[in-house]
Amino acid sequence: MTPLLLAQIGLTLFVFVMLLNSAAVMVYVERKVAAFLQQRLGPYRVGWQGVLQPLADIVKLMFKEELRPKAADAFLFALAPIIAATCAFAAFAVVPFGAETTFGGWLPEGLRLQVADVNVAILVVFAVASMSVYGIVLAGWSSNSKYSLLGGLRSSAQMISYELSYGLALASVLIIANSLSLTDIVNRQAGTWLGFIPRWLLFLQPIGFLIYMTAGIAETNRAPFDFPEAEQELVAGYHTEYSSMSFAMFFLAEYVNMVTVSAVATDLFLGGWHGPFLPESLGWIWFLIKVAAILFFYVWMRWTLPRYRYDQLMRFGWKVLLPVAVINLLVTAAGVLYFGL
Amino acid sequence: MVTLNHYLVLSAILFAIGTAGVFVRRNLITILLSIEIMLNAVNLTFVAFGRALGAAAGQIIVVFVMTVAAAEAAVGLAIVIALFRHRESLNPDSWTALKW
């Protein structure tokens, strides 16, 4: 049990626990921010300023009865939330969130703050995102109810359609960064131009960032693209028939997916853990700040914009976002060729 | 010691399983799935040989095979949908018009 192995295992557990915590924090943040945007107070009774509200929610969900429709396919019904939650956590495994650190000299060599250091990290994120479609499709199908089936099929069709633009935005970043490894892309963004503008890829790829965020919001089924799970439309869509912990797992999967999309966006476009004033080993603080900013943006979007209707959503994905992503890729490639970046 | 022969034997077995699926199953979609198994076995052979001979061509051909498999699955499934609309059955024994 070398110190490195212990540190690696500890890191994996730490990431897992932190993702669970992040989902709980997101529940609270979403309700508070929604409340303030709507000029009301939100939860304030449970604990100081309502911070124990997520705990109350989790306890309530745990004590609810676990239901299953009689005509539902038992195996698939149980499998769907497992696939959704597993893929959500697995996608974060290749996301680096800090520089190499030796924990103050305890380790012989630096341990990168990344659960698995793969040199095709971006593609792995994309692959696991494609697999999370199955959780939703199987949930819709196995519930054996028309609302679930419609919601499931629509949601998965939406996710597949926006995966294309997602991939093309990633490809534009790859052309500039010349590497598939997320750590290399982050390290390329260290330093500043002119002394005060950070070398983020956001400034080289503004449209790419917008495409990525739009596709990311559509991938995680959040507003304004959350038609398939809208309460007014489809009685909560594919997770209509789920209750108690299975329902909690779908929500957990959704929040962890949000965190993953924000983390990957931070790594690709906002410079990851590089920032002024702090030493490199404390870079994870900057990472947290940037991810928190993007998550706030996510919540803000949800409670500000009206929802797209399904055919508007699909038309936007295929007829607007995909051509823009392709043109962005072409312009990026031309720029790299001309300016020799 | 895992050698090239191990991979070749594995892909031979997978290919035979796919062939058995095409012969035995009487459901159009399962037949298409068996064809996908066969294509995957071939992919495995290509990558194994590419690694053994130190050539990147193995992986490149695999990219092409995957693309062709995707196109073939799409068109095959479209045909299955069109056939199903006609006769409400996925059994290939229902379409015997060309038999003498």
Partner: protein, 167 residues
């Protein structure tokens, strides 16, 4: 050691694919088989192909299959054979087909292992994604462009074939 695990998963999953009656379970088992194959590609030091396998095969083609199975509400197969007997045990043409496949397996194994060297993998240079990309766009550029036309043709064909007749 990992090779045997992945190989066992791939073979068992493929056998179950052709043995299952319910088409949805067949599709899910095939996805498991593809996952095992992806692991094998990683063992063969082809991470790019491994990830592409998940993205294209398990993530796209199988979703297509799943959609079609769900939309057609694919029934369990009805044949003129006795329903209670499992397909792989039925008499007649089916057993002959299974026997032919087994004969194919034996022949292939014999032919493929007859090659001279024992075939241990050389520890030479492994190709990176960069090499693959460069080769794709220089030596195999024509095939690459033709593949894009092929995909376009397949897209148009699939849309036209599956369209409902509107009079």
């Amino acid at each position: 050691m990992l090779f045997y695990v992945f190989a066992a998963v791939a073979i068992v999953a493929s056998l179950l694919v052709i043995a299952q009656r319910n088409p949805i379970y067949s599709v899910l088992l095939l996805i498991a088989s593809f996952g095992a194959l992806s692991g094998l590609y990683v063992l063969l030091e082809a991470p790019f192909v491994a990830v592409i396998q998940i993205i294209v095969y398990a993530g796209a083609i199988m979703v297509l299959f799943l959609f079609v199975v769900m939309l057609l509400n694919a029934p369990h197969e009805e044949t003129e054979y006795d329903e209670r007997v499992h397909p792989l045990l039925r008499a007649g043409p089916m057993r002959f087909g299974a026997f032919l496949a087994a004969a194919l397996a034996v022949e292939l194994v014999w032919a493929l292992t007859k090659g001279g060297e024992s075939g241990a993998f050389p520890s030479g240079a492994i190709s990176s994604v960069k090499t693959i990309g460069q080769l794709l766009f220089t030596d195999y550029a024509f095939a690459f462009e033709v593949t894009s036309v092929l995909i376009l043709v397949a897209m148009v064909g699939a849309v036209v074939l599956a369209r409902r007749e509107t009079h």
